[in-house]
Symmetry: C2
Subunit: 113 residues, 2 copies
Protein backbone atom coordinates (compact mmCIF):
# COMPACT_ATOMS: atom_id res chain seq x y z
CA UNK A 1 0.00 0.00 0.00
CA UNK A 2 1.26 3.42 -0.91
CA UNK A 3 -0.21 6.73 0.22
CA UNK A 4 0.49 9.93 -1.70
CA UNK A 5 -0.33 13.49 -0.66
CA UNK A 6 -0.53 15.49 -3.87
CA UNK A 7 0.59 18.74 -2.28
CA UNK A 8 3.94 17.03 -1.55
CA UNK A 9 4.54 16.57 -5.27
CA UNK A 10 6.06 19.26 -7.44
CA UNK A 11 3.64 20.42 -10.14
CA UNK A 12 4.93 20.08 -13.70
CA UNK A 13 3.90 22.70 -16.24
CA UNK A 14 2.01 21.18 -19.17
CA UNK A 15 4.04 22.38 -22.16
CA UNK A 16 2.07 20.67 -24.92
CA UNK A 17 0.98 23.12 -27.63
CA UNK A 18 -2.36 24.67 -26.74
CA UNK A 19 -1.96 24.23 -22.99
CA UNK A 20 -2.37 27.44 -20.97
CA UNK A 21 -1.67 27.89 -17.27
CA UNK A 22 -1.95 24.16 -16.53
CA UNK A 23 0.10 21.83 -14.33
CA UNK A 24 0.13 18.07 -13.86
CA UNK A 25 1.17 15.81 -11.00
CA UNK A 26 1.31 12.03 -11.39
CA UNK A 27 -0.20 10.76 -8.13
CA UNK A 28 -0.11 7.02 -8.90
CA UNK A 29 1.88 5.90 -11.90
CA UNK A 30 4.49 3.50 -13.27
CA UNK A 31 7.02 4.53 -10.59
CA UNK A 32 4.54 3.34 -7.96
CA UNK A 33 4.06 -0.01 -9.67
CA UNK A 34 0.50 0.53 -10.86
CA UNK A 35 -0.39 -2.27 -13.26
CA UNK A 36 -3.29 -0.89 -15.29
CA UNK A 37 -4.12 2.79 -14.96
CA UNK A 38 -2.50 6.05 -13.93
CA UNK A 39 -3.93 8.72 -11.65
CA UNK A 40 -2.90 12.29 -12.39
CA UNK A 41 -4.00 15.60 -10.86
CA UNK A 42 -4.34 18.67 -13.08
CA UNK A 43 -4.57 22.24 -11.94
CA UNK A 44 -5.85 24.69 -14.52
CA UNK A 45 -5.47 28.27 -13.37
CA UNK A 46 -7.90 31.10 -14.15
CA UNK A 47 -7.83 31.75 -17.90
CA UNK A 48 -6.13 28.40 -18.46
CA UNK A 49 -6.99 25.32 -20.48
CA UNK A 50 -5.67 21.98 -21.60
CA UNK A 51 -4.91 21.44 -25.32
CA UNK A 52 -7.91 20.85 -27.58
CA UNK A 53 -6.84 17.42 -28.76
CA UNK A 54 -7.90 13.90 -29.65
CA UNK A 55 -6.44 10.49 -28.80
CA UNK A 56 -7.42 6.85 -28.81
CA UNK A 57 -7.55 6.34 -25.07
CA UNK A 58 -10.12 7.40 -22.53
CA UNK A 59 -10.10 9.72 -19.55
CA UNK A 60 -11.98 9.10 -16.34
CA UNK A 61 -12.09 12.29 -14.33
CA UNK A 62 -13.40 13.68 -11.09
CA UNK A 63 -13.64 17.40 -10.43
CA UNK A 64 -12.26 18.41 -7.03
CA UNK A 65 -12.50 22.21 -7.10
CA UNK A 66 -13.19 25.18 -9.32
CA UNK A 67 -15.45 25.92 -12.26
CA UNK A 68 -14.92 25.22 -15.91
CA UNK A 69 -16.17 23.64 -19.08
CA UNK A 70 -15.38 20.55 -21.04
CA UNK A 71 -15.04 21.79 -24.61
CA UNK A 72 -16.11 19.34 -27.32
CA UNK A 73 -16.64 19.84 -31.04
CA UNK A 74 -19.73 22.02 -31.25
CA UNK A 75 -20.60 22.15 -27.57
CA UNK A 76 -19.40 22.90 -24.07
CA UNK A 77 -20.41 21.08 -20.90
CA UNK A 78 -20.15 22.91 -17.56
CA UNK A 79 -18.00 21.32 -14.87
CA UNK A 80 -18.37 21.72 -11.12
CA UNK A 81 -16.90 20.02 -8.06
CA UNK A 82 -18.03 16.40 -7.58
CA UNK A 83 -18.68 15.85 -11.29
CA UNK A 84 -17.36 12.58 -12.73
CA UNK A 85 -16.54 12.60 -16.44
CA UNK A 86 -16.01 9.77 -18.91
CA UNK A 87 -14.23 11.03 -22.01
CA UNK A 88 -14.05 8.12 -24.46
CA UNK A 89 -11.16 7.73 -26.87
CA UNK A 90 -11.62 9.36 -30.26
CA UNK A 91 -13.53 12.43 -29.05
CA UNK A 92 -11.78 15.79 -29.42
CA UNK A 93 -11.81 17.69 -26.15
CA UNK A 94 -10.20 20.11 -23.76
CA UNK A 95 -10.91 21.48 -20.30
CA UNK A 96 -11.07 25.22 -19.70
CA UNK A 97 -11.22 27.15 -16.47
CA UNK A 98 -14.11 29.65 -16.57
CA UNK A 99 -13.87 30.80 -12.96
CA UNK A 100 -11.66 32.85 -10.69
CA UNK A 101 -10.17 29.90 -8.81
CA UNK A 102 -8.05 26.94 -9.78
CA UNK A 103 -9.91 24.16 -11.58
CA UNK A 104 -8.55 20.98 -10.00
CA UNK A 105 -9.35 17.57 -11.46
CA UNK A 106 -8.26 13.99 -11.03
CA UNK A 107 -7.75 12.41 -14.46
CA UNK A 108 -7.03 8.72 -15.00
CA UNK A 109 -5.74 7.09 -18.17
CA UNK A 110 -4.88 3.51 -19.04
CA UNK A 111 -1.23 2.65 -18.43
CA UNK A 112 -0.49 1.38 -21.93
CA UNK A 113 -0.90 4.82 -23.50
CA UNK B 1 -18.47 12.37 -23.24
CA UNK B 2 -20.59 11.51 -20.27
CA UNK B 3 -20.95 13.55 -17.08
CA UNK B 4 -22.20 11.94 -13.88
CA UNK B 5 -23.21 13.68 -10.66
CA UNK B 6 -22.80 11.10 -7.93
CA UNK B 7 -25.53 12.54 -5.73
CA UNK B 8 -27.99 11.69 -8.52
CA UNK B 9 -27.17 7.99 -8.15
CA UNK B 10 -28.86 5.78 -5.60
CA UNK B 11 -26.36 4.41 -3.06
CA UNK B 12 -26.25 0.61 -2.83
CA UNK B 13 -25.57 -0.96 0.55
CA UNK B 14 -22.44 -3.10 0.53
CA UNK B 15 -23.72 -6.45 1.77
CA UNK B 16 -20.48 -8.43 1.58
CA UNK B 17 -19.64 -10.17 4.87
CA UNK B 18 -17.63 -7.84 7.10
CA UNK B 19 -18.97 -4.63 5.58
CA UNK B 20 -20.49 -2.22 8.10
CA UNK B 21 -22.44 0.95 7.30
CA UNK B 22 -20.99 1.24 3.79
CA UNK B 23 -22.53 2.15 0.44
CA UNK B 24 -21.25 2.06 -3.12
CA UNK B 25 -22.16 3.97 -6.27
CA UNK B 26 -20.70 3.06 -9.65
CA UNK B 27 -19.91 6.45 -11.20
CA UNK B 28 -18.30 5.23 -14.42
CA UNK B 29 -18.65 1.57 -15.28
CA UNK B 30 -19.56 -0.99 -17.92
CA UNK B 31 -22.98 0.59 -18.49
CA UNK B 32 -21.19 3.79 -19.49
CA UNK B 33 -18.94 1.98 -21.94
CA UNK B 34 -15.68 2.34 -20.02
CA UNK B 35 -13.07 0.11 -21.67
CA UNK B 36 -10.45 -0.41 -18.97
CA UNK B 37 -11.28 0.70 -15.43
CA UNK B 38 -14.26 1.44 -13.23
CA UNK B 39 -14.80 4.43 -10.97
CA UNK B 40 -16.82 3.83 -7.81
CA UNK B 41 -17.64 6.09 -4.87
CA UNK B 42 -17.84 4.59 -1.38
CA UNK B 43 -19.40 6.20 1.65
CA UNK B 44 -18.43 4.65 4.97
CA UNK B 45 -20.52 6.02 7.82
CA UNK B 46 -19.26 6.63 11.37
CA UNK B 47 -18.40 3.28 12.92
CA UNK B 48 -18.38 1.65 9.49
CA UNK B 49 -15.82 -0.24 7.49
CA UNK B 50 -15.30 -2.23 4.33
CA UNK B 51 -14.60 -5.99 4.57
CA UNK B 52 -11.05 -6.96 5.58
CA UNK B 53 -10.26 -8.91 2.43
CA UNK B 54 -7.73 -9.75 -0.22
CA UNK B 55 -7.93 -9.99 -3.99
CA UNK B 56 -5.64 -10.11 -7.00
CA UNK B 57 -6.51 -6.72 -8.43
CA UNK B 58 -5.51 -3.27 -7.34
CA UNK B 59 -7.36 -0.24 -6.01
CA UNK B 60 -6.49 3.33 -6.84
CA UNK B 61 -8.26 5.62 -4.44
CA UNK B 62 -8.69 9.27 -3.62
CA UNK B 63 -10.13 10.46 -0.31
CA UNK B 64 -12.77 13.16 -0.74
CA UNK B 65 -14.02 13.68 2.82
CA UNK B 66 -13.89 12.32 6.35
CA UNK B 67 -11.30 10.61 8.51
CA UNK B 68 -10.34 6.99 8.67
CA UNK B 69 -7.65 4.39 8.45
CA UNK B 70 -6.51 1.88 5.91
CA UNK B 71 -6.18 -1.36 7.89
CA UNK B 72 -3.45 -3.73 6.70
CA UNK B 73 -2.02 -6.85 8.31
CA UNK B 74 -0.14 -5.54 11.33
CA UNK B 75 -0.58 -1.83 10.74
CA UNK B 76 -3.00 0.98 10.12
CA UNK B 77 -2.41 4.03 7.93
CA UNK B 78 -4.39 7.23 8.65
CA UNK B 79 -6.49 8.62 5.79
CA UNK B 80 -7.50 12.23 5.28
CA UNK B 81 -9.06 14.22 2.46
CA UNK B 82 -6.83 14.63 -0.61
CA UNK B 83 -4.89 11.42 0.08
CA UNK B 84 -4.29 9.18 -2.94
CA UNK B 85 -3.86 5.46 -2.19
CA UNK B 86 -2.44 2.64 -4.29
CA UNK B 87 -3.50 -0.71 -2.88
CA UNK B 88 -1.77 -3.40 -4.92
CA UNK B 89 -3.37 -6.77 -5.55
CA UNK B 90 -2.54 -9.46 -3.02
CA UNK B 91 -2.47 -7.21 0.06
CA UNK B 92 -5.17 -7.79 2.67
CA UNK B 93 -6.91 -4.53 3.53
CA UNK B 94 -9.97 -2.67 4.62
CA UNK B 95 -10.99 0.93 5.16
CA UNK B 96 -12.50 2.03 8.46
CA UNK B 97 -14.12 5.30 9.43
CA UNK B 98 -12.55 6.65 12.63
CA UNK B 99 -14.34 10.00 12.64
CA UNK B 100 -17.77 11.48 13.21
CA UNK B 101 -18.49 12.23 9.57
CA UNK B 102 -18.88 10.13 6.45
CA UNK B 103 -15.63 8.84 4.98
CA UNK B 104 -16.05 9.34 1.24
CA UNK B 105 -13.59 7.87 -1.23
CA UNK B 106 -13.27 7.37 -4.95
CA UNK B 107 -12.02 3.83 -5.64
CA UNK B 108 -11.03 2.58 -9.09
CA UNK B 109 -10.54 -1.03 -10.14
CA UNK B 110 -9.61 -2.63 -13.45
CA UNK B 111 -12.63 -3.61 -15.53
CA UNK B 112 -11.69 -7.25 -15.99
CA UNK B 113 -12.15 -8.06 -12.30
Amino acid sequence: MKLVKWRDLEPQEVTQEGAVNTTIRVLLGPDDGVPNFIMRLFEIGPGGQTPFHIHDWEHEMFVLAGRGVCVLEGREVPLAPDDAVFMPGGEKHCFRNTGDETLRVICLIPKHE
